[in-house]
Assembly symmetry: C2
Homo-oligomer: 261 residues x 2
DNA sequence: GGCTGACTTCCGCTCCCCGGAAGCCCCGGC
DNA sequence: GCCGGGGCTTCCGGGGAGCGGAAGTCAGCC
């Protein structure tokens, strides 16, 4: 006797739940694991995953576990491509100038989403990765994104509990608000071991056509923190270049809409 | 009277067909366009797209058109991440050494899929982009991928019609087979305006653990073609570094499975 | 104002999808 | 070799999620 279907969820929502299972960032998952994370019964997961694999959204590895497939990556590359494509060469120039880890991020909900990043083989402890997220208040790009976003966004963010990533993370809402005010006045933000011990960072805003904001930043070893502001002219110059390129017709338009609460 | 549902397609396949509509690479699509490309009735497309938007797989822009959403991009970043993450810093080093457009690709079906690419603001006509594909026989990385892949893959490829991208594209199967033999012997491949007028390229193979192959290449203005082989030592050196990094436990494993035909 | 084209909503009929149950396969313990 | 367990795969009957024709809405254009 077939069980009643009535879990009220649509097929689409289940397919998406399967994809969401990979948001944590841990590579390959077993079918059972996948079914559990998506909260789907094993037989159903088996069928849906089978379809996803045959399309190429997922791939089954030698151990029978499932990972995100290249075809999904390929389709995903179309998201926010304009910004990435226009910014990439300038990011490259910035890296050439500074020889430091360089990245660009935008705000997604209450986190900084890292859109692109450059670094060589010899460098800095990495906290984030391309496609990854970090809290807004513990990174320089995050502070920039917060400082230059609309007031209500900043207000809302400061009224949430602020995660303490290291002992040096600024988590006092009042002092953080003051700091953000300073960031707005100075036009740049810095951190010192607020996200990870061993690294410090500096960032400036990039104003996108349509009112959006991106954060352009550098990460250095914290032993080099005295040199942070030395890179400010380069950062500001490159940010300006990106703004120009993005403003040109066919440039880096990007629709920014908050999601998940 | 509700029409008979019996088009035989699953909901999942329709969702995937909607995503596949973006594979062409043309940014935002109207609902009607989307429905047509996915071959889905308008009301159904409307409902499915609504779900995709509310999850974040698609985004609706100001003109009411739909583009791929950042959340899908984010999930997609998990695909082949190991290879990309291990290769990126070395690609960066290669760029620093040569100051030329640098890219890495793998074979996907009968095309080269560009996994990553670096370039500065002042450079070369771009034929490909990250996440994009080009024919195997008209690019240096493609020739490498073909030359060092398994025999049956090469055979099968040479028996297909070979697209003539420019007047200089090598499309004679017999001569191409000889050229690939030479590529195997020499350990590198070159092209001169075979994909796009104005650019030439050189590439070497990167042997991945598990038997896969990636192609590591440079693109130069064709006026610089005399300098192509000057970069060979750098290419070979960096390729070796990537191989080492990928072979290290936790390195760049990547399951390569052909798909679509 | 009327027309066209694109999007959105409605609604009742289906048939695709669901998940419990059972079978299968591999592996590890004894 | 036998047994037990965990994970995967297949089967199947019942029912509600999904379907699309049709009608409604809206904006732009002549």
């Amino acid at each position: 006797m077939g069980a009643t279907r009535g879990d009220g969820r649509t097929v689409t929502s289940k397919v998406l739940a399967l994809l969401a299972a990979y948001e944590g960032g841990d590579g390959a998952l077993s079918l059972t694991d996948l079914a559990a994370r998506a909260d789907i019964s094993l037989p159903t997961a088996h069928r849906l995953v089978g379809e996803l694999v045959s399309w190429g959204a997922l791939e089954k590895d030698a151990q029978g576990r499932y990972a995100v497939g290249l075809r999904l990556w390929e389709v995903g590359q179309n998201a926010g491509r304009q910004l990435r494509d226009t910014a990439r060469p300038h990011l490259q120039d910035l890296y050439s100038l500074t020889q430091e880890t360089t990245h660009i991020a935008i705000r997604e909900g209450h986190e900084a989403l890292y859109i692109d990043r450059l670094y060589s083989t010899k460098r800095v402890p990495r906290a984030s990765r391309v496609g990854g997220r970090l809290p807004l208040h513990a990174t320089a790009v995050g502070k920039v994104l917060l400082a230059f976003d609309e007031d209500w966004v900043r207000e809302a963010y400061l009224h949430r509990p602020l995660e303490q990533s290291t002992t040096r993370t600024h988590v006092n809402p009042v002092r953080l608000a003051e700091e953000l005010q300073l960031v707005r006045e100075q036009g740049h933000a810095v951190t010192l071991e607020e996200m990870r011990p061993g690294s410090c960072s500096i960032a400036v805003p990039v104003r996108l056509p349509g009112g959006g904001i991106a954060g352009l930043g550098l990460v250095l070893l914290s032993t080099q923190s005295a040199n942070l502001r030395k890179h400010l002219p380069a950062l500001l110059g490159v940010a300006g270049r990106i703004e120009e390129a993005a403003a040109r017709p066919g440039g880096g338009g990007l629709v920014l809409r908050p999601r998940r609460s």
